[in-house]
C-alpha cells in the first residue's frame, strides 16, 4: 500500500560515522560490543509482550488453533512465526507486499526458533494423526530504530514461553476446548531459549558493531546474525552483504554473542518469572496499566552534563575506562589472541549446532556425537582489562573515553576558553 521512498543517508553522516568509529566510538556513546537496553512488558493476554531495544519496539502475540496434523509429521503440532514490517515502524515498509527484507528476517527467525527445536512440538499433539495445536507467533514492528531482528527474536521466544494454551479433552470422538476460566491453561514446553544477536560490519570487516542502530545499519557493508541460546549452542548463523570477514572474527564475535545470549535469556526468564508471580498475586497486568512516560523531567541532568563538557570528562576519569576498545591497548590484543581461538562449532542434529569453547582449535570442527564427551567446555578466561562488567548497569551507560585522550583534555579545554 504505502511505500515511501527511504530517506537517503547523507555523505557527511557516513563520513562522520566512520571517523568516529576510527576513534573507537559510536554515536550514541556505546562501545563496539555494547548493546542497547532491552525492556520487556507483558500484555494482559497470555503470550503477549512488547519488547523494546533502545527505541526499536515490537509487539508479539502467540495464538493457537486446533488443526489436523500433517501427514508428514503425525505426532507433532505446528509452529508458525510471522514478522510483519508495518508502515507504522517505518514508512518505507510496504504493508501489502512481502519485501526481501521481510522474507529474510522471517527466515532467520524461523531458523533460530523453529528449526532449532526450541519449542516442544510433540507436546502440542493431542491425538496422533488427528488433532494438534498449531501455534502462531505474530510479531508486529512498532518502531524501527535499527536491529529489528534481535528485538523480534527476544519478543518471539518471550511470548512463546509466556503463552498458555487452553486445555483440551477428547472423549474419543469429540474434542472439547475448556475455556481459561474452567481449567487452568497449559504452558508451552520450551527446550531452550534461542535469541538472535546481530552485528553490523563496516569498513571491510574492520569494525564489528553490536546491535546496530538505524544509521549504522544504513552505512554497514554486511551483517552478521548469530542465533544462540544460553547453553552457547548455535542456532543459525547468517552473514549477509559483502565484507571480507576473517573466520577468526566470526568466531570471536560468536563467543561475545554467546555471553550476550546468556544475559538475554536471564532477562527473559526473569521477566516471565516476575510476570507469573504478579499474576499469582492477582495483580492487574497489562498494557493498560503501563505508566505514562514522564520523558520531560527525566533528563535535565543529562543535558547539563552535555553542556558542561568538563563535568563529563571528570566523570569519565573517575570511572576509569571499563569498556576499553580492544585494539588500542597492546595488552588487550594479546588477550584477545588467547581468547579468540577457543571455539568450535558442533553440529547438533537438524539446524542446531553447538558453539563450545575448545582450547587450541579455531576451525569449524565436525565432532561425532559419541566423541562429544571429549569436547571441553572452558569458561572464558577472565582478562581484567577486557571484561565487560555487567555488575553495575549505571556505569555502563556513561560515555567512556580513552585514557590517552583524557589526559589531553584539560589542555584542550583551556584552549577553548581562550
Amino acid at each position: 500500500m504505502a511505500a515511501i521512498r527511504k530517506t537517503i543517508i547523507s555523505n557527511c553522516e557516513k563520513t562522520f560515522l566512520m571517523k568516529n568509529l576510527s576513534e573507537w566510538n559510536r554515536l550514541d556513546g556505546r562501545s563496539f560490543t555494547e548493546f542497547r537496553d532491552i525492556n520487556i512488558v507483558f500484555g494482559k493476554d497470555w503470550g503477549c509482550c512488547k519488547v523494546s531495544l533502545g527505541k526499536t519496539e515490537v509487539i508479539a502475540q502467540v495464538s493457537c488453533e486446533l488443526q489436523q496434523t500433517k501427514s508428514s509429521r503425525p505426532n507433532e503440532g505446528m509452529l508458525n512465526i510471522n514478522l510483519e514490517l508495518n508502515t507504522m515502524a517505518d514508512p518505507s515498509f510496504d504493508a501489502s507486499r512481502q519485501s526481501d527484507l521481510s522474507s529474510q528476517l522471517n527466515r532467520l527467525l524461523e531458523k533460530c526458533i523453529k528449526d532449532s527445536k526450541a519449542v516442544d512440538l510433540e507436546s502440542l499433539c493431542i491425538k496422533m494423526n488427528e488433532r494438534a495445536w498449531s501455534l502462531r507467533v505474530d510479531i508486529n514492528v512498532l518502531n524501527n530504530e535499527g536491529n529489528i531482528l534481535d528485538c523480534a527474536s527476544v519478543a518471539a521466544i518471550t511470548a512463546l514461553s509466556h503463552f498458555r494454551r487452553p486445555d483440551v479433552t477428547c472423549d474419543g470422538v469429540e474434542y472439547k476446548i475448556h475455556s481459561i476460566k474452567q481449567r487452568d491453561p497449559i504452558p508451552t514446553v520450551i527446550h531452550h531459549y534461542p535469541v538472535c544477536i546481530s552485528y553490523a560490519i563496516l569498513n571491510e570487516g574492520e569494525y564489528i558493531l553490536a546491535d546496530p542502530t538505524l544509521l549504522e545499519e544504513g552505512v554497514a557493508e554486511a551483517f552478521l546474525t548469530i542465533g544462540l541460546n544460553s547453553y552457547k549452542e548455535l542456532c543459525g548463523l547468517h552473514l549477509g552483504g559483502n565484507a571480507r570477514l576473517a573466520t577468526k572474527d566470526i568466531l570471536e564475535t560468536s563467543s561475545k554473542a554467546a555471553k550476550r545470549a546468556t544475559e538475554l535469556v536471564a532477562i527473559i526468564k526473569n521477566a516471565v518469572e516476575k510476570d507469573t508471580q504478579d499474576r499469582l498475586k492477582l495483580n492487574d497486568i497489562g498494557f493498560h496499566i503501563m505508566p505514562i512516560q514522564e520523558k520531560i523531567e527525566k533528563s535535565t541532568a543529562e543535558l547539563s552534563i552535555c553542556l558542561d563538557q568538563w563535568t563529563l570528562s571528570k566523570k569519565g576519569k573517575k570511572k576509569k575506562s571499563k569498556n576499553e576498545p580492544m585494539d588500542v591497548d597492546p595488552i588487550n590484543e594479546n588477550n584477545s589472541d588467547v581468547q579468540q581461538c577457543k571455539e568450535t562449532i558442533t553440529p547438533l542434529g537438524n539446524g542446531t549446532a553447538k558453539l563450545s569453547e575448545v582450547k587450541g582449535e579455531n576451525e569449524w570442527a565436525i565432532v561425532e556425537s559419541d566423541e562429544e564427551a571429549e569436547v571441553i567446555f572452558v569458561e572464558p578466561p577472565k582478562a581484567d582489562t577486557v571484561s565487560i562488567s555487567d555488575s553495575n548497569s549505571e556505569e555502563e551507560q556513561v560515555v567512556v573515553l580513552n585514557p590517552q585522550r583524557l589526559k589531553k583534555s584539560p589542555s584542550k579545554r583551556k584552549k577553548n576558553r581562550i
Partner: protein
Amino acid sequence: MEVDTLKEENNIDRLKCDLGLLSRPDGSALFTEGQTVVLAALYGPVEVKMQKVLVEKASIECIYKPKAGFPCVQDRFKESFIKNICETSLAVSLYPRSTILVNIQEMQNHGQLLSCAINAACMACLDSGIDMKFLFGSVSCFLMKDGELSLIPPVNESSIKGMFVFVFNNTKGEVIASHTEGLFTAEQYHDALEGGRQMGVAAYVKRGTRSPFVCHLSLSERRGGTRRHDNDMLLPLRPELGDHPGYRAMFF
C-alpha cells in the same frame, strides 16, 4: 432515561493516553480505555504514490493491524471506517498531492476496540500537529438485554443485546460516524446517542472539563513548548546565521 450507568467520573478515569512515544512517526499515541489498549501512529503529509494522487486534497491511508493473525475483512472495515472519519476531520485540502498515513496497532482487546482505535487515531493526529477541522472522540455504548445502557463493557458478554459506537466532533457535538451491532429500537438508539454525547462531550471534547489525556497533552506542551508570555515579538536571529526570518514565515 436511566443514565445511572452513564456516570461521567468513573468513565473518564478509565481513559488514559500517552503521546509521542514512538520516535519514527510524526505523531503517535497510546490510548487506553479500560483494559483495551490501541497504539496509533501518523505520518504526514508525506510523498504520495502515483496511483493515489488527488489534485485537490491529501489522500488518507489507514492501516489497521490486529495483534494476532492476518488482517481480514473485518479489519479492512475498521480501516475504511477510521479513514473516512479522518477524511472528514482533517484539513485535507491544505495538503494536496500528498498522503497522510494513519497506522493503528491493536495492543490489547477487552471490548470497545473500535472506539478506542478511533480515539487513538485522533490523539495521534493531534500529536503530529497536522491541521484539523475539529477533534473527534468516540464512545461505545452497550445495550443490555434488560434495556439498560452502559458505557462500560459488561463482565458478562452474554447479557449484551446491542452495541453502539458513536463518533462526535468537538465543535457542536454532532455525530460524525455511527456503527451498531445487534437489534435495537429507535428510542434506544436515541437514548444511547444522548448518553454517549453527554459522556463524549464531557470527556473528550468540551473545554473546561477536558479529559485527563487532553490535559496531559496541554501539560506536556506547556512544559516543553516554546511559548513566551512576556515577549510577543517575533524571535530575532542568531547573528552568525545571517538574515533569517527567525520564526518561520507565518503569513499566508
